[in-house]
Amino acid sequence: MDDLPPSSEAAASSHAPAAHGHAHDHGHDDHGHEHHELGFVRTYIFSTDHKTIGIQYIFGGLTFLMFGFMLMLLMRWQIAFPYEPLTYANASAHMGYQFHEVLYHLGVDSAPPEIPTPVAVPAGQTCFMEWLFGKDQMPGGVMTGNFYNTLGAMHGTIMVFFGIVPVAFAAFGNFVMPLQIGTVDMAFPRLNMGSVILFFISAVLMFSSLLVPGGAAKSGWTSYTPLATISDPPTHYHLLGMQSWVAATPNFPEHPTWWALLLAGQTMWIVAMAFNITSSLLSSVNFIATIVNLRAKGMGWMRMPFFVWTQFVTAFLLLLAFPPLEAAAFMQLFDRCFGSSFMSPGGLIVNGQPLITSGGGTPLLWQHLFWFLGHPEVYVLVLPGLGIIAEVVANNARKPLWGYNQMVYGVLVLAFLSMIVWAHHMYLTGMGTAVSSFFQLTTIIISVPTILILSSLIISLWGGAIRFTSPMLWACAFLPLFGIGGLTGIPLAFNAPDQFLHDSYYIIAHFHYVIAPGTIFALFAGCHYWYPKATGRMMSEFWNKVHFWPTMILMNCTFFPMFLQGMAGMHRRMYDGGATYQQLNAGVLHWNIFISEAAWLMGLAQIPFIINFCFSWKYGRKVSDNPWEATTLEWSAPSPPPHGNFLKPVVVYRGPYEYSVPGAVNDYTPQDEPPTAKPTHISGPAPADERSIGFPPLT
């Protein structure tokens, strides 16, 4: 094509990146485009601005996190007090009993309190729970097994796909990442808006599935077949294909109309997941393209903040691991609605009826495809959290990250390895020892880069002048608690102990330690850290402490006893919290009530955060553009950043964490500060030559 006429580049506007940080005259609160003002809808709802989109995601994601958490709080009632009606009378009787038991042990009460007997809802009356969830879900306030399963499945799905990924990846990634690499917006702003719309549609579908007859999905967040294929309504009512045969067979009920099949909770789960996956895919394309192509002048790969690296790697994981689940979702949809048998073997008997399918499929197919997503998904949940913590630690220890290069290489290795460890979730499916050994090996290897990153973060604290700001409190809690979560995973990686620990409460404790005090603490840290950038105001430090300490303590009270229960052999899917098998679970069942109450109190402990988050938006203390005295680029933009982000073209001269550089006047040097320029802020503590960086001498 060399002989083509020269392209008319002149017709296009010039596209040097720096040339487009227009000098805005208008103030920070101006969301408008420089050519025309956008209306309310285009500014706040169908916005293409990455910052607005990030804020949309964070409001949606935090709301869904709270909602998913509440589902679990409901479920904990059934585990703590099996088959008791959930009414105000019963709940307050139990709370009173617990209160007086504590008083008795403290010596305030002289006699132990009586164990309350559950009071049934009088016949003819409808208690609140029955009214709220319907007679088939909570008759007389007692949770049915189906509803229990629904709550479990929806808790997992909502927390993972509608809570943490939107907040950790989509919200913080959208808001912070373009600012940190010094660009004006994402590479594809309209695609970004499309992701939000798809996410919204998927959330509407997923949440409205709670309202359809029969309730939402109830096969766990993993949606294992054949359970997911035959549950509500069973698949032998085929929509197409064999329905003539079914209709011709005696004793078969009428097959439902097509909309009844599509409106079944499990089908809606699949459809909602397909939308969610598509949304994540488009986001990840956008993220990678932005990071690769839109970095500001001078922003080399190894000058990117670690948070950008984690977003980059997370985006790749989503891009490559999610499509197989989408394929699996299509197959499960076919199995459910069109009666195919990708994942069901022939000859199944369901409810005493032979299941009419062509057979020939295998449930292992679903498990492989699901966990091919499922394991990288764990790192999708964790890596943005690690990125946030890295930013917070470097900023508040006033030190460069120790081993930035190793951390970057570590996160890349981690991403690669996470794609080849999935079958360690499937040791008990009878894959064979050779396959198990391979996955055991890769799983153990993956702990090396993980520990490398975590150790680097801990070492970064060494010799730092640590500021215990709000985000730093969360980061300090993150490091040991995430460590517990990670290290307790190592026994599970080995085939032999996993035979015992698999599907026990130990697993629940393990991954909740990774995700709840791990990722969610990191999200709280991120909220506090970037709040001034998004709003120009600070969240209250006092209310953060009111939120932090109870949450941190109750988080441990909730999840630590689960290790004990799991190691005693308590199965994780018991509808009655293991009461049926109490001889086998002897000595650990009493933790059920303790755990439940810790979880309920933890729910209450989130109220200060909600108040803090909402009220600071309007009433928080106003702060400067760089209140944390940080070095990365987002703090060079105004707070909140205007449309187009930066007031002047961004040029990067140095690495991301130039804190306490010897010879510098300040203890921080922003990335866009020219080497020869005189420092603009004189606020650093001591003269630089009295300060050391890195390790103090070990001898």
């Binding site: 094509m1 006429p5 392209s7 008319s8 580049e9 017709a11 296009a12 596209h15 990146p17 487009h20 485009h33 004006v184 917006d185 590479a187 594809f188 702003p189 294909g241 064999m242 329905q243 003539s244 045969w245 079914v246 209709a247 011709a248 067979t249 990840s284 990678i288 393209a289 690769v292 192509n293 839109l294 891009l319 490559l320 691991a321 999610f322 499509p323 197989p324 989408e326 394929a327 699996a328 299509f330 197959m331 076919f334 069109f338 195919s340 048998s341 990708f342 022939g346 032979p354 009419i356 399918t357 062509s358 057979g359 020939g360 499929g361 295998t362 197919l365 492989h368 495809l369 187009g644």
Partner: protein, 300 residues
């Protein structure tokens, strides 16, 4: 505010945003179709010996579709070259030809789907089949196949009296009058007309067989050749359906660039040619998927 590198490539990466984005999107598409093809392998390797249908598609229709898509890839490149040379008419007609070829592909696909809809398959117990049906079928050279693990025979053909049975509320009682197919696969014999995508269909005058519902295997039953009928058909409809969705998506995008989107030519022809290049990359990928689908579903 403009996003950088929407038209010209960034010097150090050598890519403009759209090209990078489409390659990343195609990476995810590779994983999507890769997962489906892997599942196909998984299911097929796990199938009982002899139960996997062979040569049930009309290869000539599949081959025609392959040629159509390959030709459309050529016209797609011609459209891009037309833009690069700033010859709008070449661009417009080449893009229009691509759309026509894509729609023709979909039309042939529709013909094949229709054939699956109007054909029925019946699984008949081994004992009853040998006793009552085998001789009749052999005599008229009709096609049937044996499924050893399930001890039943499969007969495919037109279900002649279904509407009549339904009207009389006799569907459970039967008997079912069936005009069986002559042969599987892609044989085209003189004197017999060919089923739309399927195989050689018997003449309407040929003798029909009458199947008693009691002889039908209770677990497999009978049905249209749709996903519920067998895993092969499930794979077929999943793969070709997903592929057809991609074709539809591509055609919609091209229709946009043929009409409203082509206005950009006046304002910024280079950006339009970038967009067409990106569309073309996607279209070639869709073509590539079909080139994989054709051998694994039609030729094996």
């Amino acid at each position: 505010m403009d996003i950088p590198y929407t038209v010209s490539a960034r010097p150090d990466t050598g890519l403009y945003n759209g090209k990078l984005g489409i390659w990343l999107f195609l990476a995810s598409e590779v994983m999507l179709f890769g997962a489906i093809f892997t599942s196909y392998l998984f299911v097929r390797l796990g199938a009982d010996d002899g139960s996997w249908p062979n040569h049930v598609q009309n290869v000539w229709l599949g081959l025609t579709n392959t040629i159509l898509l390959l030709a459309s890839s050529i016209t797609m490149v011609l459209a891009w070259v037309g833009l690069k040379e700033r010859k709008f008419n070449t661009y417009w007609w080449a893009l229009a030809a691509t759309i026509v070829l894509g729609v023709a592909f979909l039309a042939i696909k529709g013909v094949e789907y229709h054939a699956k809809w109007i054909h029925w398959g019946f699984f008949i117990n081994e004992d009853a089949f040998v006793k009552k049906y085998k001789d009749d079928l052999d005599k008229d050279n009709y096609f049937y196949s044996y499924i050893p693990q399930q001890h039943c025979y499969e007969v495919r053909g037109h279900f002649i009296n279904r509407d009549e049975l339904i009207a009389n509320n006799q569907l459970k009682a039967g008997p079912y009058t069936v005009l069986p197919d002559k042969a599987p696969g892609f044989a085209i014999n003189a004197g017999q007309h060919t089923g739309p995508s399927f195989n050689t269909v018997s003449d309407e005058e040929d003798p029909k067989i009458s199947i008693d519902p009691k002889d039908i295997d209770p677990l497999r039953g009978y049905g249209r050749l749709l996903p519920a009928y067998g895993t092969y058909y499930a794979v077929y409809f999943l793969v070709t359906g997903l592929h057809a969705m991609h074709i539809i998506g591509g055609v919609v995008v091209m229709l946009y660039f043929l009409t409203i989107g082509s206005r950009m030519y006046k304002r910024n022809p280079e950006q339009l040619s970038n967009r067409i290049e990106v569309t073309g990359i996607f279209w070639h990928f869709v073509d590539l998927v079909w080139i994989t689908v054709f051998p694994i579903l039609y030729l094996t």
